[in-house]
Every structure is written in structure tokens, then in C-alpha cells.
């Protein structure tokens, strides 16, 4: 007999408050202390170090070790500088544009694939594994593959000239706009499978009986999908998009290998910008201040989102 229990308000389990429970809790605390100390060391110490450095002019080029950085104290000069740094903001803008273009494409492609699998139009396990493969390739390697594909004398241009004879060999990676497009294509290829995976798992969790009930009431696949399945996976969609936005924002290795941020700064993401300032220009204190700023900004954003989610849950 099916055991699908009906939704009924279940009281939340309460914690035992007896003496026994209390002693168990203090034991738990004592067992966790070594791990906590380690975490503090790994997380808190570098954070404090970073804040410290960001308030100075220090770079390793000075020749002094970092704890002497106080000698070139500059209060918030780094921070005021970063507000006006066109290079920084340019890279932020490009990264945001990248996310705004790539993630929606990945979402719609992933959703379409998930829907096709869910409705049974596509089904072979072989096909399923094939679709997931791009995700399993190291991003840097994928970047290199696409670097080769998008070469002026590369396979993409050869294929295109077969379909549109007369089109001259397109210059992808040395044209500012086309390089951006190429990079978006590469990211979409690699990460659509992740969207597909998460969304498909979400669709599988839609109760089959509800879909059947909808069909018996006369709904076609479109009505079923948009009225029943999609609304039920709103949380899953939010998670998938949220995950991808965060990852996409940090994009580095694929870009580094494919274009190095070029041509010029056409494909320089925030991560690439920071990389160059840190390892090429050795402006460590400046980069430290950027890092702290990003941390503060993301914390505020997360707190706001969490507050909204909590309000929704309470309803």
C-alpha cells in the first residue's frame, strides 16, 4: 500500500532539557573545541592579516616582511582609490554582463533538456551521460579546447565556411565583441549540464500522482509543465541559478587559458583583474582592500536575501 502521507502540521521536535541532555551537550562542546581552534586559525587569522595590509601601502617590492607594513600606514587611501579605479569597475561590469548573459542561456537550455528527459522525449542513459560530460572536464582544459576551436584557422571556421560559403575566416579571439561571445559559448557548453542535472532532479521530485491528476483533468504537457511542475520547483530553480551566478562571477581558469583577458581587457573578469594586480603588478595591499570590499558587499547581500527567505518561511 502506498504510504504517501498527507500534509498535516507536525509539531517540531523539542530538545530534551534534562540533566542528562545537558551533560551530553557539554561533552559535545568539549569535543568540538580542537576543530574550532583550527578553524579560527585558518579563517580568522588570514582575515585579520588581510584587513591589516589593506590599510597600508605595502607591497613585497618594498623588501620588508608583512608585519612591518604598519610603517606605510595609509588608512583608507586604498579604498578611496578602488572606488575610482576604472580598470576595477570595468572588470566588474564585464563580469556582471557575462553572468547576465551566460546564466540565463544555461538555465533555459538546462530546463529544456530537463523537460525533455522528464516527459520521456529523451531517455537513453547513454544520452544522459553524454550530456553530463562537459561538466566533468577541467575548466582550464575546456578553455584550451575552445581556444583551439575558435582559432581563425580552426575547426569552427571550417565548419562555418561549409554552411555559408563565401564567409571569410572569422576572427574570434582577437575581436573584442566576438571574444566575449566565444567565452560565453564556452561557459554555456561546460555548465549547462549542471543546470540540467539540478533541474532534472527537481522535476523528478514532483509527485507523479499530481501530474497524473492534471492529465486526467485534461491538461496537455505544456499546461502540466507550467502550472504544476515548474511552480513546484521554484526553490530548486533558485538554488540552481544562485549556485551558477556565484560560480560564474568568479570565472577564472577558462578565461585565463582561452583569452588571458584579451583582446586588451575585453574579456577581463574581476578574478583576472585581481590576478594581474596580484601576480603581475604585485599590488598586494590594493588587492587586499578589494577583497575586503567584496567580502563586505557579499555579506550584506546574503544577509538581505536570508532575511527575505526567513520572512517567506515564516508565512
Amino acid at each position: 500500500m502506498t504510504d504517501t502521507t498527507l500534509p498535516a502540521p507536525m509539531p517540531v521536535e523539542e530538545q530534551a532539557t534534562g540533566k542528562l541532555a545537558q551533560s551530553r551537550r557539554s561533552l559535545a562542546v568539549r569535543l568540538l573545541i580542537p576543530a574550532q581552534v583550527l578553524l579560527v586559525f585558518i579563517v580568522a587569522f588570514p582575515l585579520i592579516m588581510q584587513i591589516f595590509i589593506s590599510l597600508t601601502w605595502w607591497t613585497p617590492l618594498d623588501g620588508d616582511p608583512w608585519y612591518l607594513a604598519w610603517m606605510s600606514w595609509n588608512w583608507f587611501d586604498n579604498y578611496t582609490y578602488l572606488m575610482q579605479d576604472d580598470g576595477l569597475w570595468g572588470s566588474v561590469g564585464r563580469t556582471l554582463l557575462f553572468v547576465a548573459v551566460a546564466v540565463p542561456i544555461e538555465f533555459f537550455l538546462g530546463l529544456t533538456l530537463a523537460a525533455l528527459f522528464y516527459e520521456g522525449v529523451l531517455g537513453r542513459p547513454v544520452l544522459y551521460s553524454l550530456i553530463l560530460m562537459p561538466m566533468m572536464i577541467v575548466p582550464a582544459v575546456a578553455g584550451y579546447i575552445f581556444f583551439l576551436i575558435f582559432q581563425q584557422t580552426g575547426p569552427l571556421n571550417s565548419a562555418l565556411s561549409v554552411l555559408w560559403p563565401g564567409m571569410l575566416d572569422v576572427n574570434w579571439l582577437n575581436d573584442t565583441t566576438r571574444a566575449f561571445v566565444a567565452v560565453v559559448i564556452a561557459d554555456v557548453w561546460q555548465w549547462t549540464p549542471l543546470m540540467f542535472l539540478i533541474l532534472f532532479a527537481g522535476l523528478m521530485s514532483v509527485p507523479e500522482d499530481q501530474m497524473r491528476a492534471a492529465t486526467i483533468l485534461g491538461a496537455n504537457w505544456r499546461q502540466r509543465f507550467f502550472r504544476i511542475a515548474l511552480p513546484r520547483i521554484k526553490t530548486v530553480i533558485a538554488i540552481a541559478i544562485g549556485l551558477r551566478v556565484i560560480e560564474c562571477f568568479k570565472i577564472f581558469d577558462m578565461l585565463f587559458v582561452m583569452t588571458g583577458g584579451g583582446p586588451g581587457v575585453a574579456t577581463e573578469s574581476l578574478s583576472l583583474f585581481l590576478y594581474k594586480r596580484t601576480f603581475q603588478d604585485l599590488e598586494w595591499s590594493y588587492v587586499a582592500s578589494i577583497g575586503i570590499t567584496v567580502l563586505v558587499a557579499l555579506s550584506v547581500l546574503t544577509a538581505v536575501l536570508m532575511a527575505r527567505v526567513k520572512k517567506k518561511d515564516a508565512r
Binding site: I216, L217, A219, R227, R232
Partner: protein, 370 residues
């Protein structure tokens, strides 16, 4: 018009036969219950009628039209799932409106009919509430309302009352009867609860182990069961089915319980005729617990027995008797005073009792009046 006919319909899952060669002719506007123990194939049968499962062999017709290969979406039946399958992310109103919305009805018409159905189902006060906030009883009404609103001519219900508590079930039984009468639909109802089946159905299809055992009115199922399975399944406590030896003594026919002359029941004319005609030495004697009386004197159909156990079950007393090696159960009013260990004289209403073939389980009869 919406009659439902199954001809030679079967369903196999691999090697497992879930439904074997069903032949069922349900009339238009009839309320039919498919009754049987769990695993007998009743839900599978209904799923085939709805189109949720496809048919392994045979045909299904609605009003003579072959719908065996018509997909679920186009069959135009109403279906209430056992766990209701309410669209939990939608409000009560949206749930009710769904069937009409996907058909492209006008919004004003939808609102009107949703309002009517909510009234009919006594859900008007919750109409804009999220469906997850409803109690089990309200969910059940919503499930029925959602399917009923598109006015299907055939309405299928899969154990709809099994999740409800017994007090509410009584009320829902009469509500369902009213609904079916007012909508004049063909209603097919799967259940393992024989009280529900008896109380609601015009005819009951009793199934066991993938096979149809009997398809008849509740009265006939109760008083003229085809075989020992049906006899034992309908009625609580279930019919006593005792193996007896048939003997002729002094011109009268006797059924000896457990083969002992001392525990003999004198048969009346009808049963005696059946026993003689069968010529068998051993038969199965079936008599219902509610057809026993405590009497003072021996006579036709009476027996001396000892009380083994008395169970107080609601307004009745179930008394377990024993005669030598055989046991049987009687069901009496609470007022009856019997104690374990007492001796009693039990008389069986032979006009309502039956004889069955011990091998095939089939009920003996000579002609239609039996």
C-alpha cells in the same frame, strides 16, 4: 450515456498477472464498487479504465466506443486518488478551477462553477486558503470537487474514504450517495471495506487474486454468494464455513460438524435436497454469525455448543462457540448473557444458510430460487 464495459481485459506486469480476464458490464449512471483484499487487482483494474495503466489483453469500451488505446488525457473520466493528489502549491480555488482552466473556459463561468462546487462541498469558507492547510476530511472533499467540477460522465474513486476516521466516513458515505444521484454519473469505486461497498453500490464486483468472483447487487452478494471466498469476505464477523460430513439418518439429512454424529445439524428441505443432489459425503456448511439464535430446544438447525470467548464489539457481542473439534462465531445483541465456559443451545437459521462444494468452493444450488 456512459456505460463501461470490460471484455477479456487482463494486465500483466512481467510474469505477474495482476488482472485476469475481466468481463464486466457496468450500466450508465450505475454506482459500482470493486471490492477485494489488498493485492487482488482492483486498483489495477480501475487504473486501466482510467488509462493510467495500459491493457495487456482485451478491450475497454465507454458506451460501446473502444477506448482501449485512447490516452489518459482524452478519456474524459474523473479520478480521485487514494492520497488525493491535491495540487499542494495551489489554493483551494485554483485546485477546483484547474480542470476548467485547462479547457479554456471563460473566467466568469469558471468563477461561478467554482463557487457552486465550493458550496456543495462545504468548502466556501476556505476557498482562498492554501490547500496544504486543509484537514484530511476537507482534502477529500476538495479532491472529489476538483474532479466533479468538469462533470465527467464516468467517475472513478480509488479508496477515497480509507484515510478518514470512522465517524467521518459515515457522513461521507451519504454525501457520496447524494453526489452520485444528483450528478447522475456512472461511479466506480475501489475499496477493501465491505461496509462501504454494501452501503454505496448498486452492484458490487468482488475480486480476489486477479479474478472477478461475483458481480451482483449487495443483497445477492450477501445472501447468495457464488463461492466461499465471497461468502467469507462479505459480513463482519465473516460467515462461518465449517467442513461437514453429510449423513442420512432416519430419513432426514444431517450435517455432522467435524464428522461427529454428536455435533449434527438437521438440514431443512432446501438444503437436504441440495445435499442429496450433490451426492457428496463431505461439504462446506456456511452460516452467518448474525443468523444464530440461542434456543432452549433442539430442532432443525440446532446444535449444542460451549461458549469459548465473548467479545464486546460496539453494540454487538461476538460469541465464539466450540463443539468438540469445530469452532464457529455468533453475533448477538449486547443484551445476550453468555459467559465463557457455559453450555448453550444454538439454532441456525437454515433458510439463510448455504452448502458449498469443498473442492471448488462453489455454492450448491438447484435452480434459480436457491
Amino acid at each position: 450515456m456512459a456505460s463501461v464495459t470490460l471484455e477479456g481485459t487482463s494486465k500483466k506486469f512481467g510474469d505477474f498477472i495482476a488482472v485476469r480476464n475481466m468481463n464486466l458490464a457496468i450500466k450508465d449512471a450505475e454506482f459500482v464498487a470493486i471490492l477485494g483484499p489488498s493485492g487482488c487487482g482492483k486498483s489495477t483494474t480501475m487504473n486501466m479504465i482510467a488509462g493510467i495503466e495500459d491493457v495487456s489483453a482485451g478491450t475497454i469500451r465507454f458506451d460501446g466506443t473502444d477506448v482501449t488505446n485512447v490516452p489518459m488525457k482524452k478519456r474524459g473520466v474523473g479520478f480521485v486518488f487514494q492520497n488525493y493528489a491535491i495540487f499542494t502549491h495551489l489554493s483551494v480555488r485554483k485546485n477546483l478551477a484547474f480542470g476548467l482552466e485547462v479547457r479554456g473556459e471563460e473566467q466568469a463561468e469558471i468563477d461561478r462553477r467554482v463557487g457552486e462546487m465550493a458550496e456543495f462541498m462545504e468548502l466556501s469558507h476556505r476557498i482562498d486558503a492554501p490547500s496544504v492547510s486543509l484537514s484530511v476530511n476537507e482534502l477529500q472533499k476538495l479532491a472529489i470537487g476538483r474532479s466533479a467540477i468538469v462533470e465527467p460522465s464516468i467517475f472513478l474513486l480509488d479508496e477515497p474514504l480509507s484515510n478518514l476516521d470512522s465517524a467521518f466516513r459515515e457522513r461521507m458515505r451519504s454525501d457520496l450517495r447524494q453526489l452520485q444521484r444528483s450528478l447522475n454519473q456512472t461511479m466506480i469505486y475501489v475499496t477493501h471495506d465491505q461496509i462501504e461497498a454494501m452501503g454505496l453500490a448498486d452492484r458490487i464486483a468482488v475480486m480476489d487474486h486477479a479474478t472477478l468472483q461475483q458481480f451482483d447487487t449487495p443483497e445477492n452478494i450477501y445472501s447468495r454468494p457464488e463461492n466461499t471466498f465471497v461468502a467469507g469476505f462479505i459480513g463482519a464477523p465473516s460467515m462461518n464455513l465449517v467442513r461437514v460430513r453429510i449423513a442420512e439418518r432416519g430419513g432426514a439429512m444431517f450435517a455432522d460438524l467435524a464428522g461427529r454424529e454428536a455435533d449434527a445439524v438437521a438440514l431443512d428441505e432446501r438444503l437436504a435436497r441440495q445435499a442429496r443432489a450433490s451426492g457428496a459425503a463431505a461439504l462446506t456448511f456456511g452460516f452467518r454469525p448474525e443468523h444464530l439464535r440461542i434456543s432452549d430446544q433442539p430442532g432443525n438447525g440446532s446444535l449444542a455448543a460451549q461458549v469459548v470467548l465473548v467479545e464486546l464489539v460496539g453494540r454487538r457481542k461476538h460469541v465464539h462457540f466450540s463443539t468438540g473439534q469445530t469452532g464457529f462465531v455468533g453475533s448477538f445483541d449486547r443484551g445476550v448473557s453468555l459467559r465463557p465456559g457455559e453450555a448453550a443451545h444454538v439454532s441456525i437459521d437454515l433458510r439463510k444458510s448455504h452448502l458449498f462444494d469443498p473442492e471448488t468452493g462453489l455454492r450448491l444450488r438447484l435452480g434459480e430460487e436457491d
